[in-house]
């Protein structure tokens, strides 16, 4: 994270990979929302940062003037020739090709399809708890949260479970390696695509009942998918499904470890969990997306240049007092909660039903095993920076 000089002025020189942002971005967004609601930084070749709900929503809906060709801010902009599909369809696709690429994935991630994965997810969460033995302090991020989405997505795709560390290495590279020099970043991408290519070829030779085979046999416009598109879509599912859910599970456990009243209420009223989860997703939304400006333009007084980035910090939208009452309070039975944790518009997180199932099951199993727990050392907690924010080190005292 330390490749960039530290930020001294968040209004004119922000950097979302800065350690201060990673540790606690909310005061930064609150101040910007009041004083400079669309900030600009020269870093990464130009980045804009809207912090109000309405501005973030307007840009998310405006697929004409903002392209999804790349959604991770770095020094590297994928070549324009990749448009309109982009590097990892459908997240990187614009209309009209976006719709069909997304349509292909949605049935796999429908609530009905995801329900079937619940028993195996629960069994795996229980296995992780059992593996903790009888220690007093465990790392809820490293020993619990991070493993759950890796296992679930590996099984869905049909990739070996034992490659979990390999996947996490790829994800870390793509999402957190944004400050690396271009050659290093390219090298990581080549390794990722090489790994997936190998598994795809194996699936072509030996079809089985999993998502890679499903994609290889799928058709768009009456034609089988191009294997290169299959690899790019697998890369998307692997990358988008891991850090994000890991972060949401970790942040929820972090909140409950530090707020005894909320924890006790959820233990006493397990039926409240689905509503409480939406509030935890609102308050600690892990994901900030990005767009590229398509053409030079004046956007609400901001002189945006073609190929500049625009960050879409959905977690900041979720803390906007114009959109939510008492936005900085976590109210676990908040009834009206139109949060944007999974984005807004045509790019709504395609895996949101999977993410919710994993989060719910992970919290149910955790609360059953540890009805009383607290932070072992609040100062030791470490949060990831960049566009997916969640606890990466989370020592929790269990059985208090």
């Amino acid at each position: 994270m330390a490749e960039h000089p530290p930020v001294t002025d968040w209004r004119t020189d922000f950097d979302h990979t800065d350690d201060v942002w990673a540790a606690d971005p909310y005061p930064i967004w609150d101040e910007l929302r009041e004083q400079c609601p669309v900030a600009h930084s020269e870093r990464y070749g130009g980045v804009w940062l809207p912090t109000r709900y309405d501005d973030i929503a307007a840009i998310a809906y405006d697929t004409e003037r903002f392209t999804s060709r790349s959604i991770i801010v770095s020094e590297f902009r994928p070549p324009r020739m990749l448009a309109p599909e982009g590097i990892a369809p459908p997240i990187s696709s614009d209309p009209p090709v976006h719709k069909e690429a997304r349509r292909l994935l949605l049935p796999i991630f429908s609530p009905q399809a995801i329900d079937k994965l619940e028993p195996s997810t629960r069994a795996y969460c229980q296995e992780l708890i059992k593996a903790m033995g009888d220690r007093d302090v465990v790392d809820a991020a490293a020993e619990y949260a991070q493993h759950i989405p890796v296992r679930v997505i590996a099984n869905m795709l049909g990739l070996p479970e034992e490659d979990a560390d390999v996947f996490r290495g790829f994800v870390n590279h793509v999402l957190e390696g944004v400050s690396l020099p271009l050659e290093k970043r390219a090298e990581g991408m080549i390794n990722l695509f090489g790994y997936l290519q190998g598994h795809m070829e194996d699936h072509m030779a030996n079809p089985r009942d999993d998502l890679i085979t499903f994609l290889l046999e799928s058709e768009m416009d009456g034609k089988k998918l191009d294997p290169f598109q299959v690899v790019r879509t697998i890369a998307l599912l692997l990358i988008a499904g891991i850090d994000t859910t890991w972060s949401a599970i970790g942040a929820s456990i972090w909140h409950l470890a530090g707020n005894a009243a909320d924890r006790q209420r959820l233990v006493a009223e397990p039926d409240l969990l689905p509503v409480a989860m939406e509030e935890l997703l609102r308050a600690y939304a892990p994901v900030t997306m990005a767009r590229l400006v398509r053409e030079d333009m004046d956007w609400n007084g901001c002189p945006m240049k073609a190929e500049e980035w625009v960050l879409l910090p959905f977690p900041s939208a979720n803390r906007d007092p114009a959109a939510f009452e008492d936005p900085d309070k976590v109210i676990i039975d908040r009834e009206v909660n139109r949060h944007a944790a999974f984005g807004l518009g045509i790019h709504r997180c395609a895996g949101s039903h999977l993410a919710r199932m994993e989060l719910r099951v992970a919290l149910e199993v955790w609360l059953e095993a540890f009805p009383a727990f607290e932070l072992a050392d609040p100062d030791a907690v470490r949060w990831s920076g960049g566009q997916v924010r969640g606890p990466r080190v989370l020592p929790v005292k269990i059985n208090v």
Binding site: L106, P111, P274, E335, V336, L344
Partner: protein, 66 residues
Amino acid sequence: MRVAVDVERCEGHGRCYMTAPELFEADDIGNGRERGDGTVPPDLERKARVAVANCPERAITCEEAN
């Protein structure tokens, strides 16, 4: 009272059928749709309003009975 999901606006967040499964259901791609003709029994009117208020895309319309 009657509810209806605007299929053009719905992006499949699923908040309606999670909040009020008696009134909404998921289609095969996870988009929400009203059950039956969307008529809301009197004892579910409050739930219907909560579902409307939680739709991130503001895709649900609710016609109050005269």
